[in-house]
């Protein structure tokens, strides 16, 4: 395998360029996937026998839930890279990921509540998955709060990295404990896991939407990291030479 110069893109300057080229096509791809997913989910997939049309919420609920977890894992991954290799870009990527991840976690809770109310009669049912999602949301907020509170960017990167790693390691333990707690108290009678038995089209719809969310997250992280790079590297020569930094040029 030809040696890929990964470290070439670890420098903010090169990453800035790469992100600048990539985010737009990714954004359009995300939009296309979302349109396709919505088409399949809302126009093609059949009505569910038990849940009627209400089950269609899963075409948003499941993808955003998956993404909220995947993004946290990505943050933990970049956290490891940041601490082990002391790469500036890794810390910036973690911080660029956090708001999107937090948003997906919030949306998972919102859509979960709106799904639970008609199906199980309550806006919040304290089932294992929703409760774990709530705790994941708190983990995101903690990360964002900590990194915002620290003024020195290097310390903020590394503190955030440690928080992300510790959080990621704890998520399985937290999930296990919440599942235990839930079955002990409710006897596994209520669970949002009892999704309707999946028709092929339903699965396709979910997959397309999940891909759409993933590509959207990629595009958003690349776009957001560019602003972060500009803020961090404001004193560098290459920033002063950028076309968008010349006077009189629209952003």
């Amino acid at each position: 395998m030809r040696r890929i110069p990964w470290t070439h893109f670890a420098a903010p300057q090169t990453f800035y360029g790469l992100a600048g080229v990539c985010w737009k096509p990714l954004a359009f791809l995300a939009l296309a996937l979302a349109v396709a997913g919505m088409w399949v989910g809302f126009m093609v997939a059949p009505t569910d026998a038990q849940q009627g049309e209400g089950y269609r919420i899963i075409f948003w609920h499941v993808p955003v839930s998956w993404m909220s977890m995947i993004i946290y894992l990505a943050m933990a991954f970049w956290g490891v890279v940041c601490l082990v290799f002391r790469a500036r870009m890794a810390g910036m990527l973690s911080q660029a990921l956090a708001p999107t991840g937090a948003l997906f976690a919030f949306l998972s809770l919102w859509t979960g509540a709106l799904w639970g109310k008609p199906m199980w009669g309550a806006w919040w049912v304290w089932d294992a998955r929703l409760t774990s999602e709530l705790i994941l949301f708190f983990l995101y907020i903690g990360f964002i709060a900590l990194t915002s509170a620290i003024e020195d960017p290097r310390r903020a990167d590394r503190a955030g990295a440690l928080v992300a790693i510790v959080g990621a390691l704890n998520v399985p333990i937290i999930y296990f404990s919440v599942k235990w707690w839930n079955t002990l108290h409710q006897g596994a009678s209520v669970s949002l896991n009892r999704a309707p038995s999946m028709a092929q089209t339903m699965l396709w719809g979910m997959l397309l939407m999940a891909l759409a969310c993933w590509v959207y997250a990629l595009a958003m992280v690349l776009y957001r990291s560019r602003s972060l790079i500009l803020q961090r590297e404001r004193h560098a020569d290459w920033v002063a030479q950028l076309p968008e930094c010349q006077p009189g040029v629209p952003a």
Binding site: F42, M43, V44, A45, P46, T47, G52, E53, G54, R56, I57, W60, H61, V64, P99, T100, L103, F106, L107, W110, T111, L114, W115, K117, P118, Y216, M220, Y223, R224, R226, S227, L230, Q231, R234, V239, A240, E244, C245, Q246, P247, A251
Partner: protein, 64 residues
Amino acid sequence: MRWESWSAFWHMGGYAMYVWGSVGMCMASLALEVWWARRERTNTLRDLRAELAAQAAALEGEGT
């Protein structure tokens, strides 16, 4: 086509509030996030340009 009419589509078999409440919140939030990110970039560039202009002016002042 799954739906007999557009109004049936919006009605969502009685689950309109829940389904469209979810879809609407998702789309609105993501649009808000996009708007916020764009605004952040605009502000960053604006501040950066002001800073660079000030530095350039200071340098010219020293040069004379």
